[in-house]
């Protein structure tokens, strides 16, 4: 038996809250009926699917996570402008390339977040993760300095993720 009865009723508290907010946002309303329906869904769906979830590392530093989110948001804007310039510029000068980045984080969730961040930020798309989850393979649109790119990914994105999840 689960020692904490609160978690039997709310097996996934964060997801329940998210579902509630998303339902209300999707309907773009605060009508009583919809609040009731959202609450019902937020209660019922997590109970139905809770047995499917895998244990994931939890966020240890929410403030740092917020800072990371803002950093990525800013980098997305910069990335867009950089890629736009590359696309409109001369194609013959572009030096595409594959690189392998060694991973320090081992769990699925942080690796997924890192890979998504890499895909959204300047000139890089994550292609694959090695089977032992030690290497992330990245395709770069314009590879100038391989080591510098690896270092910037590790310092700028991986280090904060590592701290956020405390692993």
């Amino acid at each position: 038996m689960d020692p904490n009865p609160r978690f039997r009723l709310f097996p996934m508290p964060v997801q329940s809250g998210l579902l509630f907010v998303v339902w209300l946002l999707m309907n773009n309303t605060l009508a009583v009926g919809h609040i009731f329906l959202a609450a019902l869904l937020a209660l019922a769906i997590p109970i139905a699917v809770s047995s499917l979830q895998h244990p994931q590392p939890t966020v240890h530093k929410p403030l740092l996570a917020l800072r990371y989110f803002l950093l990525v948001l800013m980098d997305i804007v910069i990335a867009n402008i950089q890629v736009a310039i590359l696309i409109l510029g001369p194609l013959k000068k572009m030096q595409p390339g594959f690189i392998a980045v060694p991973l320090d984080i081992k769990q699925n969730l942080p690796i997924t977040l890192l890979a998504s961040t890499v895909s959204l930020t300047p000139g890089t798309v994550s292609c694959d993760v090695s089977e032992d989850q030690c290497w992330l393979y990245i395709h770069a649109l314009n590879l100038v300095d391989e080591q510098e790119l690896i270092n910037s990914i590790k310092n700028r994105y991986e280090a904060p993720l590592k701290e956020i999840f405390g692993c």
Partner: protein, 132 residues
């Protein structure tokens, strides 16, 4: 013409511009992996700008905060990298041709096989070599 109309037109135009650049990239870039870059990046900001414009327009028109566009942005930010990753993975799997001047063929081969990169073995060899 007041400042809200100016702001809305600015964001609509900016969004359209980035979408256009993304599409040009999709058509213009020479190989599959490079083409992947255009829709993952240029389009996210393009759609983002259009949604900001939509939020401003409907907030003012209905004089009520309209924030459900945020959801579209979030879904897009979640799905764009995942779909790009899946396409890149599929391309690696079927051994799609890359541009000849693509660098890092070791990493490419290692990625195709999904094994740990050969540079790990190379590094070990190098270390042994330097020690002996």
């Amino acid at each position: 013409m007041n400042w809200t109309e100016l702001a809305i037109s600015f964001f609509v135009l900016l969004g359209g511009l980035f979408m256009l650049i993304g599409s040009i990239g999709l058509a213009r870039l020479p190989d599959f992996y490079m083409r992947l870059h255009a829709p993952t990046k240029a389009t996210t900001l393009g759609v983002g700008s259009l949604l900001i414009a939509s939020m401003l327009f409907f907030s003012i028109k209905n004089s009520m905060f309209s924030i459900h566009e945020v959801l579209i942005t979030i879904f897009l930010f979640i799905t764009a990298p995942v779909s790009a990753h899946m396409m890149a993975k599929a391309a690696l799997h079927v051994d799609t041709q890359t541009l000849e001047r693509t660098q890092g063929s070791e990493a490419h081969q290692a990625a195709t096989a999904r094994k740990s990169t050969p540079s790990e073995a190379d590094l070990a060899n190098k270390q042994e070599g330097s020690e002996s």
